[in-house]
Symmetry: C3
Subunit: 348 residues, 3 copies
């Protein structure tokens, strides 16, 4: 497995998941409890009482404070302990780590690693999710597989043809070559597949109402480690954007994934689908939500199988990579670099 | 985990659990089969046939002998093999280990470790359990946690306030300081908490009939590794024992736990509640049995969580100990000494 | 555990199990996918796509080719890749290993290990299974135990008396001595137990119609590692074969086991019962199928228990072997030799 990239922002939850009930979630192997103060600020604390490591998520809130359910140790949102049973003196070391958090684009982002470096790293944007010009459906599926497998999966969409046929896959996806670009400085990987004349899969036919064949553009923009964007443009065959970049006759779907490792062998698979058409149309929303969840679950099933395969196989198994893997291999290389691992030559 | 203390007596079962059906129970990682001879003596044999290690507990009794269910090897209560299929000669080494057992205070005690040393060690007493002057309810709950966690739990009753509120916990338990004494020679740890004016929790209000506030004494007496006694005295506020030690107006409950490691990560959690009031009152017995079992299961749930936390956490995690932990830390120190481990400085 | 004997033929399936649906089965730890071509030939390929190791058994057939369900890599029955998505060039190394297979005696045999040596090793025969002079019932039960335990079990039938009483066991089996012969060159172990005057167990009484006591011969012929034959002859007491070897008044049952390791801790337990009487009698077939399956499941239950016992026990546990184990110890010795392990002195 690729080592975790620790000094980074990760999506921990949708903002709507965090409230006055305690939410336990493990990120990069670290158990964290999330809640909101009475004023609405998101708090993220290590989910371990300093005393006997009881999970604070099994506890309860007292105003903005969290009271351990085992012996009553009580913590401020900052992590400072303010009550110890049976004595008035609070030990100097009685505090649990707190994690920097930012709410942005409907997500709660949390910084794992050295908090001092949180401010030095920009959080990548997915502005459509909180933009009234788009209607969004979203969800999160737990994945019993290492995050690398999800990165691989999303960087190479040729699998849509085989794994997601009848939903988003058509023969043209597997058969159309890709172009890949890597911005080494900004650490962004771009993979594009522009299909000029393709069958329209049900996912887009039913939501856009287009009948007949389409121009279909898939423009991936991956910000390792966590944020994956797929800019999807659909239009009837031959309908292209204007020379000035405006595109009134195209249908635009922004597919967003947040890839957050839970443990070395499991991943939080956040997915969202934002569209600039059929705004507020509940029927289209329901259809896209249900379809995309089905597609995500098809991936989950396949990747869970792969995780079991990898865990059972002997060391030193060798993969074979081909052209479609260019983006995925670039992602692995950059993730390794970010994690501080030495690079290995990729097998081609 | 603290290493097992092997050369010691452990509670293996209630006497009532052992009869003419074979009882399989693992103690300190050793699988043992228990049964009674026709004369009523308890037999404890290693639960492995010498031939191909088939569990004798999967077998059947033939009089006082146990007949292996796989190939018929047959053993005396002493463990000597007296029948081998297909030949008349019994190999000299054909015997399974037998364990010293003693029935006392309603328990079956078994000696793990070197049988030659069994006679050198007194079995601690819990005489109330078999005393007609007391009425007792009891049970055993399997705990999927190392035994240390149960020792910790029982030595620090401040958790009653938080984990067992509504049953046995009130604010005074967590807020009243304790006194701790260690008898290093006899290896007994005493922890006392005397509350002069406390709320009466439902467990005692309903069983004693006291209305209003109480004097509540908790006097722990732990005989490591296995036997834990909580001498609990309840009386209306201001009602104290007489100068001569008699205490006709107090209510006395002897809470007994036997802490028997099953494996390195699981424990047999035997519990009994003996009272010197409402003798033979079935309604009170039912209430106390049901209430105490609920309390034990609250502990089991919390300790099972802690076991999983410990197994998932990185090595070297540091706890923070405070005043309430004095008894628990003393217990750890003595258990380590008994197990022959070097002591470490406790963190405070 | 005895190491796997790799350069050998193993029963992978009944021929009737393999068709145009993909069959995934792990043999000696190697995941293999089986299917038949349109012409009916059995194909056995490594169950891993070369690209990203997706199991081909999760895929689909396109004529005689198998199409990976993840990205569409397509393979010939030889294992050669003939299609890669997004490019026309097929990488030279794009092939999955194929396994030599032979159909014989109703079984599909597969060669694990170096394919170059497949032709040098004869496949042992069980001709009755496909012989119209016999009527056969058969099945396969998954065993959650290492294959050594099944070899031990079958080489020492004295366990019939205890584990299979009421089905095939009577007291005479455990009490009659065996003779054991080992053909070191051909690597076959023979264990015989001839009972001249024995009770007739229900398995044989009901199927042959014999009333009263019987002559019962058990002649084991084990071809390590995979094929175990039990030549069973039943006749009324005193009825023997003719001097010329013909045996018109005996009832002959050929009990065949194929012992195929799945993983280091699990085994495919193939069993078949072929008889030369009551040919085509469905009632007798149903009775023998149901009875033998019950017997196999009694073994499965016992051996699954033993596997758990072995996995939990400390290293260096010592068994005690007696006369009845002579055949089993010879089997271990030959299996070790075949696996290239040094022999150890057996404990007696």
């Amino acid at each position: 497995m690729t080592a975790f990239v620790r000094d980074q922002w990760y999506v921990a939850a949708y903002g709507s998941e965090v409230g006055r009930d305690l939410l336990a979630r493990t990120i990069l192997g670290e158990p964290i409890v999330f809640y909101r103060t009475e004023a609405g600020e998101v708090v993220a604390l290590a989910d371990r009482c300093v005393h006997r490591r009881y999970p604070l998520s099994e506890s309860r809130l007292d105003g903005d404070r969290i009271v351990c359910g085992y012996h009553g140790f009580t913590y401020e949102p900052s992590g400072s302990c303010v009550f110890v049973p049976g004595q008035s003196r609070i030990p100097r070391t009685a505090r649990v780590p707190s994690y920097p958090v930012v709410e942005q684009d409907s997500f709660v982002w949390v910084w794992i690693g050295d908090p001092a470096r949180a401010d030095t790293t920009l959080i990548p944007r997915a502005p459509w999710l909180a933009d009234p010009a788009y209607t969004t459906v979203c969800g999160m599926e737990p994945l019993a597989a290492r995050y690398d497998l999800l990165v691989d999966n999303l960087m190479d969409l040729s699998h849509e043809t085989y794994l997601h046929g009848g939903y988003i896959g058509t023969p043209e996806v597997a058969n159309t070559p890709i172009t890949t670009e890597v911005d080494e400085d900004r650490r962004i990987i771009y993979v594009s597949r522009h299909m000029d004349d393709a069958a329209c899969p049900p996912f887009y036919a039913k939501s856009t109402g287009i009948q007949g064949r389409i121009t279909r553009w898939q423009d991936i923009e991956y910000h390792p480690p966590c944020l994956y964007l797929l800019h999807s443009r659909i239009a009837p065959v031959g309908v292209l954007p204007n020379a000035d970049g405006t595109d009134p006759d195209g249908f635009h779907v922004e597919v967003v994934y947040a890839i957050t490792p839970e443990t070395e062998h499991s991943t939080h698979d956040f997915w969202a689908v934002a569209r600039d058409f059929a705004l507020g149309d509940q029927e289209v929303s329901d259809f896209l939500a249900q379809s995309n969840r089905t597609v995500v679950l098809q991936d989950v099933e396949a990747l869970d199988i792969l995780e079991r395969v990898i865990q059972a196989e002997p060391q030193g198994y060798q993969e074979l990579s081909v052209n479609i893997d260019t983006g995925g291999l670039a992602a692995r290389r950059i993730l390794k670099k970010m994690a501080g691992e030495p690079e290995k030559a990729a097998t081609r």
